[in-house]
Symmetry: C2
Subunit: 765 residues, 2 copies
Amino acid sequence: MTDTNFSQSSSSIGLNISRVGAEEKLQGKALFANDVVLKNALCLKALRSELPHAVIESIEVQRAINSPGCVAVFTGRDIPGKNRYGLINKDQPLLADTKVRFVGDPVALVAAVSEDAAQTALSKIKVEYKELAAVFDPEEALAPGAPLIHEKGNLLGKRLIKKGVPDLAFQKADIVIERKYQTTFVEHAYLEPDAGAAFVDQSGRITIYASTQNPHYDQVDVAKLLGLPENMVRIIQTATGGGFGSKLDINTQGFLGLAAYLLKRPVKMTYSREEAFLCTSKRHPLKIVYKSAANKDGRLLAIDVKIIGDTGAYASYGLAVVTRSAVHATGPYEVPNVHVESVFAYTNNSIAGAMRGFGVPQMAFAHESQMDLLAEALAVSPLEIRARNILRLGSTTATKQTLTASVGIGACIEAIAPHYEQIKKSIELTKTKNLRGVGLGCMMYGIGNTGVQNPSTAQVELQPDGTITLFSGAADIGQGSSTVLTQIAATELGLDSNKIDLVTADTGMTTSAGATSASRQTYISGNAVLDAVSKLKEMLLTEAATMLRTGRASLTLKNGRIENISNNALFVTLEQVVRKAVTEGIPLKWQGFFDPDTTPLDPDTGEGNPYATFAFAAQLAEIEIDVLTGEVTVTKVVAAHDVGKAINPDCVKGQIYGGVAMGLGFALMEEFAPGKTVSLKDYHVPTFSDMPDVHAIIVEDAEPTGPYGAKGVGEPALIPTAPAILNAIADALGSRIYFLPANLERIMKAIHSGTSKPLKIKLMV
Amino acid sequence: MTDTNFSQSSSSIGLNISRVGAEEKLQGKALFANDVVLKNALCLKALRSELPHAVIESIEVQRAINSPGCVAVFTGRDIPGKNRYGLINKDQPLLADTKVRFVGDPVALVAAVSEDAAQTALSKIKVEYKELAAVFDPEEALAPGAPLIHEKGNLLGKRLIKKGVPDLAFQKADIVIERKYQTTFVEHAYLEPDAGAAFVDQSGRITIYASTQNPHYDQVDVAKLLGLPENMVRIIQTATGGGFGSKLDINTQGFLGLAAYLLKRPVKMTYSREEAFLCTSKRHPLKIVYKSAANKDGRLLAIDVKIIGDTGAYASYGLAVVTRSAVHATGPYEVPNVHVESVFAYTNNSIAGAMRGFGVPQMAFAHESQMDLLAEALAVSPLEIRARNILRLGSTTATKQTLTASVGIGACIEAIAPHYEQIKKSIELTKTKNLRGVGLGCMMYGIGNTGVQNPSTAQVELQPDGTITLFSGAADIGQGSSTVLTQIAATELGLDSNKIDLVTADTGMTTSAGATSASRQTYISGNAVLDAVSKLKEMLLTEAATMLRTGRASLTLKNGRIENISNNALFVTLEQVVRKAVTEGIPLKWQGFFDPDTTPLDPDTGEGNPYATFAFAAQLAEIEIDVLTGEVTVTKVVAAHDVGKAINPDCVKGQIYGGVAMGLGFALMEEFAPGKTVSLKDYHVPTFSDMPDVHAIIVEDAEPTGPYGAKGVGEPALIPTAPAILNAIADALGSRIYFLPANLERIMKAIHSGTSKPLKIKLMV
């Protein structure tokens, strides 16, 4: 092709196409779950335990049933199938049967003609409990004699990563630094509390509209709870006002399915903000004892990390966090000798599950603090210490995976380095009343689930009228997967992206794309779409070649036509191909599939290739601290992210802006107290006024197996922010905070009493 | 297979499955076009000519536009595309441009915020006409000097059928009988007047909900009127309350498309009953001069038939009636020498188009009267004269098509013969105050369009959840095609028919199945469905064989499983196949196609194989005549129909009951006066109290190329009824009526003045 414009015009990759669904949201037309109006729908409300741990001795529901407007009250006994669900471990009852395990555990479900009637009925249910000793610390939970939360014991899971000979390395090291880091429960605080609606059609099939990240999983778990075949449950994702991991669990879906199925009436359930706080999954609080060894040149020799996690009352996605936190303990650095032990326990706290990053934000706080401590001890700059240790092409990770492509951490650090130097100099030169500081945070993040099968499927269909419909199970929860998948399909087919009709996240119309989690939809579902679309394209070229009596190689797809590359007056339209195809029985709908090339981790050593590709990032934070109040203001964040290829740069930047906001909250203010925090009055999230100037830099170190080279950015956007801010605080204060969030109290403590003492420093320089 | 029940359970062919959509209709839940509520939809109304023929000198619309609530007024000048549409000939303007051609011709279209506002605006439009001489008789229209209705002349079309040497045969014949028959315009009188609604979406595409028999044709004609590509118009058929041919034309669709497109606002249009009478197409009134020759044994030697038809102001489907009436002139009889000339003219009458039977009901009135006249003259019984002449295997039709299978007319006559003899005897033995009579009517009907390409397509899809969706463009207008197509798909796939989800008659979701006309959907679309489903079945068996490690021949489809014939514990489910297929990229959606094997008619001789198969029927009618009032009561109809195979016997019987009702109206009461008849007060259709006892007999002479042997019954159900009733009247009165309907006036005239004189009788016995 000689005409460059010609070739460019058929690709929307790298263009800032308007986000799919944005217009509806801006105009208030998007249908969120609570907007779904089913005529005569009953209102559902759950009665929840106020005790953290207790045996249920009796539940008296008759007075509730008799109360005006109450239609039914269900307890654990009414569940037709198996009363246990969960994303990995099936350990959570939909309605408590023998006992309750945390404040918020649902005990009964009321269906009533109005919200008031439901509330009245709730108040008339009498539950007699026998309170049990409770445990709220994972180490205590694992100690002998601890109260038993689940019959199988309080250990959720354990992950070991072993590489090299760490003991020997620690002995030989020039410097060893060991610190203990700690983080708290964190709430997702999505704008839209969980909600849904359901009805049963004449065939008996239950259709559930839900705010969800995970429709195909919801289908399986709801079907199991009801003892029904999966295809008797249909999940349709509504517009979803944020998920961040917590909408991977079924929240309202199980209740909706149960009540609709048993009552054969439409039902609706919307969590109050209080319920969304009390009862949905949180980010895991981790205790991390992190020991690093380096030689005097600042080369990392070894790490030894002990992670203790609290998964709360039920497992949710906890087991994935056990593993991912361990696998990511090294950060984006090559460490020849590694020992990591990650142990998570059940407690009587709120459930901890998936939250943007799956344990990696906590680990990054630790490894990035360690890097700065090393830099300080060795008197090299934080940039330099990182540059000496980063993963490169050919490097080997902690799980002995060799990186062969798309290792962009070096490029990310290079991209922010001038900004770092400039701010550093500005701080030195300018005296202000506030303390100022600048800090770095780097990260690596494995795209997709960890060493398990993790496929996505897609379909594309050439419609009777010559239009294109793309079918994907991928739930767009605001992150933009629908936009990216549309751009991929449109580009392959030579169409404007607004010519693609999209059907997503409806188990009745789409096959599974897997969950919207692990930053996986662009890479995995993008590839599945590419696979489907390539097959359709192949058919279009083949048929057009026959119709035009020419060779396939001379044809291209452009603007809804298949036309001759050198003479665009020779063409056939998609509609013409449809007409031919329908008379010749040529399929118009094509399947795509992609499962990343991974291997499982060895249970004893963690050895394996758990991810097919990794995203990398480096961020810096510039901050000021008001020494009178302890208030930290983040004035600037420079965020460089290696995303392989930005299919839609504005969407990538949108993720980075949102990630920085969430990371800022994680760093400075968000702390959830199980059973106590129930509103946004008690739980502060960043607002616009907290936002720094964010300078997003997109680094594109193409991933050869990615669609157009793309990897992912959803979680990476968040991970380096808190480390960068905490390192900036240490830079400003000269003392370091090891407990997140670095709230006013902890800042003031650091200002007045200096840093917490290092557990151990050995320096032989 | 040894277990007979087992084998039966997987087939629903021949079972009386509940009609698809019946429950919704019974419960009032079916969404008819007028039930479609589009928010803020404008009301459309057309201003229509009150003159039969006039030049439009001016149209003044400003006062209308200024009237309160009026949003726009459109005239012929506003049509963006080509202002001509039509099912075969594109001769009809959507809005009159230069002149009007019949009372009812639309001149302007008003869009207003309410019906009242639209009505007020209509009244303010001023049209200045220059009246032209009009012509209301087709023979006069074709005479030299007649007023010219269309520039191309008043001849719509002509069809000649020539076989053998008729002149010679007439010379040699023992008996020649010639009569003139005449029929009037007939109104379809469907319960639901034409209606629709439309909107334009953000992409500019116009979606039209319409009561239609013909969505894929509507799409093409509306797109042409608007000058848009076809895929910018989407037609969705709503539940349709009867069509009978008149909803093959676009009625509201063009107006809806125009207003929605130009105003970019939702619009709605519902015809009043008056409009449905005045402006939609009618059954063609025919004048038939029919001459038959036979030898003394009652063997038909020749016919010579001259048909003159009146297509009114525009062609609609008229050209198809020109041909079909000629081709069917012989009825179900083998006639060695044939000469038929069919000539149709434009007049300034209402438009005549398709109506259940396409000219054949009129022809059957003639040929069946002729058969009875021959029987009378030769003193053989009406049964006997028919039995001697009927088509058999190996017979040759008037177009020299040799019949090689499924010629069930003999079986039909045999089936009604005992009833005929019994009634005949009963009449002879019983004296009553009323005159009593019994008569026969027989017919042949070619399935599908006449000697033209006439394909149908279908798709079937195995859905992500293991359910099956069948996609067909076929519009079910109450006749039951959705039920039949579902039964075919379900049977092939070993499923209960309620397990098939059906998507029909939506140009955005289905490919064309052709029009719902010519009794073609069971045979043609049934075959297309069979083709699609067979491909899916092939895939299911192949994949299951791999999964079960067995041979395909040992597998069968049953209850949503592919299982081993001799051990049903060895099986895979449809869902399991889906899972395999999506990971292996195996198509889940399959195409089907069928176009009947026909050849075009020779323009000079009519020679050709215009249909792939024919339906046959024989009916008898028992009647009583009140000699004081002339009232004819049809007391019994026995109707034997060769449908090849009744996929759903109750649906077949439903068609027969409905056909008898319509035939009874055609025979006795229905007469439409163009420009005058505007309500059901002026136009009587049979009610429940007019209905005879109908005894439906299904004859199944399997058609080898039909789906499970099926042919069709939609129009055949109606055709023999009027002939049987008219022959019964002749039997009762001893004198014969040659003009339909045989209303009170004509009956009284026949009673008092005897039969109209034969034009010519030559009898040499």
